[in-house]
């Protein structure tokens, strides 16, 4: 069986655990760090994401402390397709959305998209993760890559589209 997205994240070293950040902009930058180190995205890639959130609002922050910072498919600075994971212990405040709801994140799944097929598969898997609150809680408590794999074992994502 092919590796799951969380297994790929661990194998490729695309993870980061931090206690706190200075700002959501800082969080976005840090969330791309593991992708930069491995050549998946350029050092400046995060700036496009920050610009986009500044322009359109915190629409990349979903329910249950999940943020999915991303730029366009085939965007400049995205060299390979992958997902960078970051867990922040303290809340990262993205401000209010148009409904006045405060958007808070602690889990970051930052996208790099180059290959459309692989990207689609990643999105499918991420959606299953985002809809699994037990798994998200376990990932929020994770401190090591082993914890990520254990969380997935304990709360395997189900295919919600099936």
């Amino acid at each position: 069986m092919a590796d799951t997205i969380l297994q790929k994240i661990v194998e490729r070293g695309h993870y980061k655990f931090v206690d706190k950040v200075d700002s959501w902009q800082d969080a976005v930058r840090l969330s791309t760090e593991s992708l930069v180190k491995t050549g998946y995205v350029s050092e400046n890639y995060y700036k496009q994401i920050v610009d986009c959130i500044t322009k359109y609002g915190p629409y990349v922050v979903f329910d249950h402390y999940v943020a999915m910072p991303h730029s366009q498919e085939g965007a400049e600075g995205a060299n390979k397709t992958g997902v960078g994971f970051m867990r922040v212990k303290e809340d990262v405040d993205f401000g209010k959305d148009e409904d006045g709801e405060q958007k808070i994140a602690r889990l970051f799944f930052t996208l790099a998209a180059k290959d459309p097929d692989e990207h689609l598969d990643n999105m499918n898997q991420l959606m299953n993760i985002f809809c699994n609150e037990d798994l998200l809680d376990a990932l929020m408590a994770a401190n090591t890559p082993e914890d990520i794999l254990q969380a997935e074992k304990d709360f395997p994502p189900e295919d919600i589209l099936a």
Binding site: C52, S71, E73, L111, M123, M127
Partner: protein, 102 residues
Amino acid sequence: MSKLENKKFMVCCANGAGSSLMMKMTLQKVLTKLGVKPAALHHCSLSEGKSAALNYDIVLCARNFAKMFDDAAKKGTIVLGLKNIMSAPEMEQAMKDAGLLD
């Protein structure tokens, strides 16, 4: 026959690569459940979507982007803005509220 049958759907997000893809998956799930075959199912960025909206019957997007399609909505395109783009129940309810379900 369902009012959704043979309609052209477009799903939009800021970049056309992240949440619009997820929303498209949610839509596919809802349509499969309802047993509806769409005539078209397209996902794209807001900039592309804004000019293309008139070519579609139904546009879906995150709620905060819905007002960007006001022009198309005035000309008859149905615009559904959702709070949780991954929620199939919310999407179905929005279709119901728009009078698209029997």
